[in-house]
């Protein structure tokens, strides 16, 4: 029984933390956020992340990657959350996972190598305007020739992406690829390249300045199907996305808590440090318990996906819903317990609050994941 990060994984976390402290602290984040017309994709950070191999953390070694698992990726995601780091890292890692899993050898060779060294920015477009994460939320249709029509919304960094993995419905399931009518059919993943015909990409105004979103409008846009993709592939991608979002969130949550503790240890009201007031202290203690549970849950879910454990689907839903709760509570408390200053633009608090808002709804909100928990537990009791 060893339920913990390895020494290597802890060292990786240290390295990420040190790099951010050194090269991309909250002042750098603020510069990106305040530059509203900018693309939100700081090039120097991207270069540094690429040099560290963090873009290729899950890329197989034969494609020049680190060949590690989601458990390692979540170490990075967590630190990026704690640092409210901007940029398409998670989107790129996810797109890479799809290409790796479902792409042809040629697609893998073309995408994974450049992606790993930072030459490609990639992202995933999985839901339509107003749609939820899941097959029912897709608003892109593919035809038999692989042309895409429709729209996708809230796509992270589509405006700077070189390749976009697009989820599309397929009216006639291509029997060859889907491997039977049960799991597959009806949904496929497609590789769309920058600057192709029939693709319009427009930036979307959002609440979280640390992560930029864009909308895709597709009109007969030619795209290459990932041959191994099917409904299960989409589910796998959504699961990985949920774990990376949860890891980022739990990083946000822990940072929110730590920063609040630090602030209220110093801040004096009524002649005492605010942190010595019991009502506040007990609330922060409860948050510590919640954030700790969320940290465990993300670890377990990442490991369960890496190892194809039979309870992997449950673990993902548990992790995302628990993390949503912990991060929502912790960032709201961060605003409240900073007093007036926590509500200002000049203070860093709103980065954490807004990033949490976005991520809580990313890759499935709590309602969706809790219903998944119910399907896997309530409905399976004999």
């Amino acid at each position: 029984m060893y339920f913990a990060l390895t020494d290597e994984q802890r060292a990786l976390a240290e390295t990420v933390r040190a790099l951010l402290a050194d090269r991309f602290d909250l002042r750098a984040v603020r510069a990106v956020v305040d530059d509203e017309r900018g693309d939100g994709h700081p090039a120097d950070l991207w270069r540094a992340v690429g040099e560290q191999g963090w873009l290729s953390v899950c890329v197989p070694q034969e494609h020049g990657g680190l060949g590690l698992g989601l458990l390692d990726a979540q170490v990075i995601a967590r630190e990026f959350g704690a640092g409210v780091v901007p940029g398409p890292w998670a989107a790129t890692v996810l797109a890479g996972a799809a290409v790796r899993r479902d792409g042809s050898p040629e697609q893998a060779a073309a995408v994974l190598g450049p992606l790993g060294v930072g030459e490609l920015v990639a992202t995933v477009a999985l839901r339509g305007p107003g749609g939820s994460f899941g097959p029912g939320g897709i608003a892109v249709r593919a035809d038999a020739a692989g042309r895409l029509d429709g729209a996708a919304s809230g796509v992270e960094y589509a405006h700077v992406a070189d390749v976009i993995v697009v989820a599309a419905t397929e009216p006639t399931p291509p029997g060859v690829d889907a491997g039977g009518g049960d799991a597959g059919g009806g949904v496929g993943l497609y590789l769309l390249e920058r600057g192709g015909a029939g693709v319009r990409i427009e930036r979307q105004a959002g609440i979280d300045g640390t992560t930029r979103l864009a909308a895709l409008t597709l009109s007969g846009a030619p795209a290459a199907r990932l041959p191994g993709s099917d409904a299960a592939a989409l589910a796998d991608l959504l699961g990985r996305g949920a774990v990376l979002a949860a890891a980022d969130l739990v990083g946000v949550a822990r940072a929110a808590l730590t920063r609040t503790v630090a602030y209220d240890t110093e801040r004096v009201q009524f002649g005492r440090p605010v942190g010595s007031f019991q009502a506040l202290a007990h609330h922060l203690a409860d948050l510590h318990v919640a954030v700790t549970m969320a940290e465990h849950a993300v670890l377990y879910a990442a490991h369960a996906l890496d190892e194809n454990r039979p309870d992997a689907d449950l673990a993902v839903a548990v992790a995302k819903s628990k993390t949503n709760q912990a991060a929502g509570d912790a960032t709201a408390a961060m605003v409240q317990y900073h007093g007036g200053i926590g509500y200002t633009w000049e203070h860093d608090t709103h980065f954490f609050y807004k990033r949490a808002k976005r991520l809580i709804a990313a890759f499935g909100d709590s309602r969706q994941h809790l219903e998944q928990v119910a399907r896997l537990t309530v409905d399976t009791v004999s």
Binding site: F270, G340, K354
Partner: protein
């Protein structure tokens, strides 16, 4: 139990409603309108509109006629506030003056202060700011450090105020200053009135997390304030402040209810536009929020009843504050939740612009902090209502 208003009050309602219908521009009633106007322009529109309303006789509703008021009842005041919300009138730009300073001056001001302050405030000729909070003295007013030293018949004031609404646009500020050198906590304070364009007053706007800049910081450097510009007596500032704050009696509850009901309906429309109003789980959440709004309405009627009977409200305003701030904040938590994956976008679909609701959602995070944080209000309720022993 009688939930009707007297005929005189209902007549007033009809008159006001007619006037409002004739005087509020149609564009203002479109949800989200104010988010489309620049902050400066919005302020001017609101200031001018409110002046016209005052000149039409719809201001100082429950103030004595001698002060230019209408001499009405608390019920008429509640009707006035509520009708304004109902008609989508903008909020007052002079509310801190109207709610706090004016009744204080009526109670303890000099004849000259009464003459100089109340009328111009009513007609929005002078917009008032409030200068109580300081960095390091948020909920703890007695910790303030801004000080004034007597020099002849003027106080030379130095210090810094924060969270001052309309700091950049107001004309004057009523501010709490430590006028007795070496005093501490509740002693040696005075309520001084300062011109915002006096020498030594500098303002820096504070941008909120929503992007809006309604607050500001006010820096006071050797500002000379005539001793005559003190309300309630030099050194008597704590008592004056307590009197002043007592005028916030939670009487705003009925108009707040009206406003939050509008937000509730607006949020339901968003849920419907996104096809989520049939979700049984969301319906429970929306219903839970509505229950709290209805309770706020009951509490407002309770407070109005007590005020009309001249009863001492005690700590009821803390109960009202906890209820309205949490109901309002909670409503917008549900708003965020029902957006699902679209919470991150200002325009999730082509015909759905959530900018204004989004700003309001951020705004609700502040309402449990200012005006006595929820923590301070709970302490008041625990000690003064429940009579629990004081913590050390």
């Amino acid at each position: 139990m009688d939930l009707s208003y007297p005929p005189q009050a209902e007549e007033f309602r009809a008159e006001l409603r007619t006037w409002l219908a004739a005087n509020i521009p149609a564009a203002w009633t479109v949800p989200g309108f104010w988010a489309t106007v620049g902050e400066d322009e919005a302020f001017d529109l609101r200031r001018d509109w409110e002046r016209r309303k005052a000149l039409a006789g719809f201001a100082g509703i429950d103030w004595p006629v001698e002060y230019g008021g209408r001499g009405g009842t608390p019920a008429m005041r509640a009707i006035h506030d509520s009708e304004l919300v109902r008609a989508h009138a903008p909020r007052s730009v002079n509310s801190l003056g109207l709610v706090f300073l004016a009744p204080t001056v009526m109670a303890v001001g000099t004849p000259r202060q009464k003459a100089e302050i109340i009328g111009p405030m009513l007609r929005n000729e002078v917009i008032w700011c409030q200068g109580f909070s300081e960095p390091g003295a948020g909920s703890d007013l007695a910790a303030l450090r801004t000080h004034g030293v007597l020099d002849g018949d003027e106080y030379v004031v130095n210090g810094q105020k924060v969270w001052t609404t309309f700091a950049g646009r107001g004309d004057r500020i009523f501010t709490m200053v430590r006028t007795e050198p070496g005093s501490s906590r509740h002693r040696g304070l005075s309520l001084l009135l300062i011109d915002m364009d006096a020498a030594g007053v500098e303002v820096r706007p504070i941008r909120q997390m929503s992007g809006v800049s309604e607050f500001g910081e006010v820096f006071l450097t050797d500002v000379r304030v005539p001793a005559s510009q003190c309300v309630g007596g030099i050194g008597n500032g704590w008592a004056t402040a307590m009197l002043l704050l007592s005028f916030e009696r939670g009487a705003a509850g009925i108009s707040q209810y009206t406003a939050y009901r509008q937000a509730y309906d607006e949020i339901v429309r968003v849920a419907r536009a996104l096809g989520r109003d049939g979700d049984p789980v969301l319906r429970q959440e929306l219903a839970r929020r509505r229950v709290e709004l209805e309770c706020l309405h009951y509490q407002a009627m309770h407070v109005l009843t007590e005020v009309e009977r001249g009863h001492d409200l005690g700590a009821a305003s803390s109960v009202t504050k906890l209820q309205w701030s949490q109901a309002y904040q909670g409503l917008f938590e549900t708003f965020d939740e029902l957006l699902g994956a679209d919470v991150a976008l200002l325009r999730p679909t082509a015909d759905l612009d959530l900018t204004a609701l989004r700003q309001e959602s951020f705004w609700t995070r502040s309402v449990t902090i200012w005006g006595g944080s929820s923590q301070v209000q709970r302490t008041i309720v625990a000690e003064r209502v429940l009579g629990l022993p004081r913590g050390s």
